[in-house]
């Protein structure tokens, strides 16, 4: 499974992404489970709004954090996310 650059990416409606005050972390919630996210993973997932495609996500994050060269890291993480069913494309 890999990310199709021509399709928008959206966070899975079968999961929930939310900030947990007690843990001071963003988490993904799903039936009987929870994944704790580090800050960069959470920032990437928040960009998956069903409108942005891969290059847009990269561009927006690079701009937000005033940096370049994030392509490989972001793509690799999104592939993991796709495999885990956290994001969808169609």
């Amino acid at each position: 499974m890999s990310i199709n650059p021509d399709q928008a990416i959206k966070f899975s409606p079968l999961h929930r992404l939310q900030w947990e005050e007690a843990q001071q972390k963003d988490v993904i919630l799903y039936p009987e489970g929870m994944v704790e996210l580090n800050q960069s993973s959470a920032e990437i997932l928040k960009m998956c709004d069903g409108a942005r495609k891969l290059d847009q996500i990269i561009a927006d994050l690079e701009q937000k954090f005033a940096t370049t060269g994030l392509t490989n890291d972001i793509t690799a993480f999104l592939e993991v996310a796709l495999k885990n069913g956290w994001i969808q494309q169609n």
Binding site: P13, R16, E20, A22, L29, Y30, P31, E32, M34, G85
Partner: protein, 375 residues
């Protein structure tokens, strides 16, 4: 409040709200206490709301509404709504009995995140026999409706000797119903399952065959369906890391308001499990005798206390140790290092003898009449 204060207490993450012991089904492996009919009192709506609020404040985020059959509580939508407002991820753990499309929509609007429907077998005849109620077709209908309304669909099948031979058909049924998650829960022998163990415990050959089939299926549906396979600990040589460690993660509230570190803990003697009517969740979690009882490692005996695996499995399940050895401080007898490990072997032999004989005693179904007889 009595009990010692320990440092390094982690906050609860999982809250299991057992709303009621009432249930129209009669599963002979039910995890409710055998004497549940003695506990008639139920918390009211305001009590539950307070419990949800207090536990959420401490950090609980996964919430299970279970029972009994939680749908028998009229205030379920109100509680679901309260849970959603607090930011819980809420799970409804139901037999599906009495669940209509209208209710499914109503609960979705209230903010319910997912519905777990249990099915007893892959055929109507066996399902209805085990459930003690005609329910098979309706359960399948409910599974469809759950999907239709956009919930992740979790199908749960409890596995035991009466249905383990149906493993291939159970998997096919899950696929046909479009389950997103399938929980294959090998029976854990507490509560009613302990009472019926001779009739429910499969033989080792049956376990191994079923596990192979389930593993192969897991690979086949990878990426489409997630399989949770709950291991049958009687055939393991190390116990499960029960509750992820006592008082570290899980908080169960029984229908009458008694707070339990694990849902079987009310069977353990001398714990004096506190009630949410008398104490706050914070007091219960941090200060109560019951929640501190098996925290950490000081309570352990040999062979656990000097064992290098104790941080992995915490000595196993306290309820299983008590039920099978009479000593709640003992190593879980599932462990091959336990001096009581023979009780597991004897249980397996006794169940096998039952499986081979042609005049097996009948299953004892979970209902109030049997509960009163047995308690």
């Amino acid at each position: 409040m009595a009990g010692s204060n320990k440092t390094n207490i982690t906050p609860p993450r999982w809250l299991l709200a057992e709303l009621t012991y009432a249930c129209p089904l009669q599963c002979p492996y039910c995890a409710n206490p055998v004497d549940y009919a003695n506990y008639q009192a139920e918390l009211d709506t305001e009590d539950w709301k307070r419990v949800l609020t207090q536990a959420r404040k401490m950090g609980a985020v996964q919430l299970g509404f279970s029972g009994g059959e939680p749908l028998t509580r009229k205030d379920l939508p109100e509680l679901v709504k309260h849970a959603r407002d607090l930011g819980y991820y809420s799970n409804l753990i139901t037999s599906g009995y009495g669940l209509t499309e209208e209710k499914i929509v109503q609960l979705k609007e209230a903010g319910l995140d997912h519905i777990q429907v249990s099915i007893q077998a892959s055929t109507q005849e066996l399902n209805d026999h085990i459930a003690g109620t005609t329910s098979f077709e309706h359960k399948k209908e409910v599974a469809h409706l759950v999907k239709k309304h956009g919930y992740p669909m979790v199908l749960c099948v409890v596995i035991h000797r009466e249905n383990i031979h149906q493993m291939p058909e159970i998997l096919a049924m899950a696929e046909e119903l479009g389950a997103d998650y399938l929980e294959l829960a090998n029976t854990q022998y507490y509560g009613w399952a302990h009472t019926n163990r001779d009739l429910l415990l499969p033989t080792k050959e049956q376990f191994e065959q079923a596990e192979q089939i389930a593993q192969a299926f897991k690979e086949k549906v990878a990426g489409k369906m997630k399989i949770y396979y709950v291991v049958p600990d009687f055939y393991e040589d190390r116990p499960k890391a029960c509750m992820n460690g006592w008082g570290t993660t899980f908080l169960t509230i029984a229908p009458d308001g008694v707070a339990l570190p694990c849902h079987s803990a009310r069977e353990l003697p001398g714990l004096d499990c506190p009630n949410v009517k008398d104490y706050s969740i914070d007091q219960i979690w941090n200060e109560s005798k019951a929640f501190n009882f098996f925290r950490g490692y000081e309570w352990m005996k040999e062979p656990c206390s000097s064992c290098d695996e104790k941080e992995k499995d915490f000595g196993g399940c306290r309820c299983q140790a008590y039920l099978l050895t009479g000593d709640m401080y003992a190593a879980d007898p599932v462990c091959s290092k336990s001096p009581n490990h023979h009780v597991i072997e004897e249980a397996i032999d006794s169940a096998r003898a039952g499986a081979l004989s042609d005049n097996e005693k009948p299953l004892i179904f979970r209902n109030s009449k049997n509960s009163r007889l047995l308690s």
